[in-house]
């Protein structure tokens, strides 16, 4: 099945700093989603971004499907941004099940 690798695995930021999280995947995809898992364990949809760039407030995401990667940008980070960020892609052609990466654990300190 498809492989999804996220980097870095852990990231510590001072409040107000910017960061870039990366998601590489091993095969072409027609879907990619970014999620934020908050400290209570809830999975929050951030972006559905099979290609191109989207922005939502301080967060933006870019997927370059031809080069098999996606980037999540967090600007002016806040302590509430802490948690684990996952990207997920379909497991294979014609499949709707998502394969998740192992996530990037972000800690934003005041």
């Amino acid at each position: 099945g498809i492989q999804v690798e996220q980097s870095p695995p852990d990231l510590i930021l001072q409040e107000g700093a910017n960061s870039t999280l990366r998601c590489n995947f091993s095969d072409s995809v027609n879907n990619l989603q970014w999620f934020h898992q908050n400290p209570w364990g809830q999975l929050i949809n951030l972006f559905y971004i099979p290609s191109g760039t989207k922005q939502n407030g301080r967060l933006s995401a870019t997927t370059v499907a031809t080069e098999r990667y996606s980037l999540l940008y967090i600007s002016s980070s806040q302590t509430t941004d802490s948690g684990v960020y996952f990207c997920a892609v379909p497991t294979g052609a014609g499949s709707y099940q998502l394969t998740f990466g192992k996530g990037t654990k972000l800690s934003v300190i005041p």
């Binding site: 027609n30 879907n31 989603q33 999620f35 209570w40 364990g41 809830q42 999975l43 949809n45 559905y48 099979p50 996952f86 997920a88 497991t91 499949s95 709707y96 099940q97 998502l98 394969t99 998740f100 990466g101 192992k102 996530g103």
Partner: protein, 111 residues
Amino acid sequence: EPEVTQTPSHQVTQMGQEVILRCVPISNHLYFYWYRQILGQKVEFLVSFYNNEISEKSEIFDDQFSVERPDGSNFTLKIRSTKLEDSAMYFCASGSSYEQYFGPGTRLTVT
């Protein structure tokens, strides 16, 4: 904004007992999913459900698991005889053919 809801938020059960986890998907969605996340690990797919039948399932989804859409709104996951290793967060999701929206999860603890 519509959202997926799950009940209970936390369930503690004894090994060998049956549990039913409940989900109310977003009303106009046609695809339904269950995923699980063992503590500290990544989220894993269990099963997808479309047109009142299972469309895909993983190797985790063995005979101990079943899903049902009993009344056209609820979507349930049943584990017949729980094991210690079933302890995990269970997420329900619903969606269109591509984007999936996840519920807040049910934390299942098997003792």
